[in-house]
Symmetry: C2
Subunit: 318 residues, 2 copies
Amino acid sequence: MARSPQKPSAPASGNAVTADLVAVLVAVTDGSPKIVTIAGGSALPSGPFEFTHRSLQTALRAWVEAQTGHPLGYVEQLYTFADRGRSGDAKSPHSVSISYLGLTREDRVGEGFEAHWSGWYDYFPWEDHRAGAPACLAKVIAPKLKSWAKAASSPTLQRERWQRCTITFGLDDRDWNEELVLQRYELLWEASLIPEAGRAHNRDAPAVPGKPMTADHRRILATGIARLRAKIKYRPVVFELMPAEFTLLQLQRSVEALAGRLVHKQNFRRLIEQQELVEETGAMAADTVGRPAKLFRFRHAVLAERAVAGTKLPLSRT
Amino acid sequence: MARSPQKPSAPASGNAVTADLVAVLVAVTDGSPKIVTIAGGSALPSGPFEFTHRSLQTALRAWVEAQTGHPLGYVEQLYTFADRGRSGDAKSPHSVSISYLGLTREDRVGEGFEAHWSGWYDYFPWEDHRAGAPACLAKVIAPKLKSWAKAASSPTLQRERWQRCTITFGLDDRDWNEELVLQRYELLWEASLIPEAGRAHNRDAPAVPGKPMTADHRRILATGIARLRAKIKYRPVVFELMPAEFTLLQLQRSVEALAGRLVHKQNFRRLIEQQELVEETGAMAADTVGRPAKLFRFRHAVLAERAVAGTKLPLSRT
DNA sequence: CCATTTATACTCTCCTTGAGCATAAGATGG
DNA sequence: CCATCTTATGCTCAAGGAGAGTATAAATGG
């Protein structure tokens, strides 16, 4: 509105910033979702963005591949944050952090790198509902949220706070919605139950189980998990996380690991097969207990279509 | 992985950039979706990001409000692009453009500003399917895409190209998917049918109908439209675009305007009412043709819940 | 051979969704 | 006043999909 269209990005003095890339690199190894971490699991891999690349995404790929020695499969931008001098120095340069979600396989990471894998539920214990609602939800989180809600100034506000809690955490017999990862994290933050918040407002509620991370990295991770949980339901991205051949149960376990909830086995197979996403390899799985399962591979021909047109995955409610 | 977690955003030399904000500001006025443009409709409003604000979003709000004199309703980040010196000078400072989607009402823009409103279908004539598939699709776009597909080097590639075209544009009796706005734009770009691409590979296919924009602004707009079309189906964001009181038909027309396709009237009402998103004001619409309609308003109490838990909107297939 | 574990094939019911029919309540023109 | 047009609004119906359960098959380890 005020700017001239002739020079839409003419450099304005004084708004130079530093651009950082932060990556949420996900893999699933026998039923547990993992992410690449550095510094003993306390931070996500991040690095400065150099303008030697054509785009942000190619920069990210190049940088990740240089670190892990293996190519990334699916890559997707998550969110861009602005941080005023994180080091506390108000005059320090400001930075913009551009976060990405990337999918790989654990075995792809080369040896001799600082990076290693951490289970993502270490950071979000309340997000894993595969064996039912985690104990910490009812025992720790719900009571602390309740007292936070009660600490609001008016009865109306109290009710609103508690309603938000019940919706996002599935309390009071509400359904658990596995996609609200970020909303849950932000609610906990608001209630001062997250160490990263660094506020001591609420003395009887200092922190909830779950490993903290540097700066806003856990928030970025929450964004990534939320995005992935939403995406697997309508885009065939699980593929990027699977080995070349797999059984339908392995596929199901991977989906369940990501979604943090169980799936009705028969319905899962029905959906997978009717969408013609996979085909039999002819071989059977070895070294299994029980009746051996057929091995499948993804039909890459269909992938192109589904990548744009969409897929479906069933996630049961109970 | 290589970086020390102690200083996750320590300023690296040589990666300083300029940060710009670009906004897709949407309103709907009697059935046409509009966006704020500058420079005679050839650019989206954009401005430098100053670090005087706590976050990118507050910066955007402040800046938009300063320009239009009115507050923004819903705001959502779209995508972050990196551009190496757009002016063509390889040594010019690089910039990062952070784009946002914002919802308002047309009447909210103050007088005396450079900004004005443009219909968004001016830029994407092929996206409006309310009166059936636009003529330009079959007459201009499909043939040009077909010859682009045929220009591929191998028969396999030719088939793949054409399959992409049929999927994204709903050709060959496929269903039209209104959410693939960005994919369609990128396909046209790839086929050199977009003037902004600035490539003359394809001599018999220079440009398709639709007003161009500066730099990658039309791509950003496509991103915004796609996001909004997807969002109205599961989040009650249409609200931000409606006046305080409205009839159900007006609401339906707004949804149709955004989605670019028609909705079954009775089913639309069924869904809206069963979700209890609206309530009667008691008054009736004046100055109408036909039987007068009840006026409704949004139930803000429900909004909080739906904002997180989701809504549904029907978009018929025929 | 039996218990256990997993694979795989069907079935059943409920709910949603798309779509159509019918009627009501106004305005307008003869 | 009536015919007709336009929009509003109520109701029904059929097809498909989603969730959940039953039954049977094929392996393993005692």
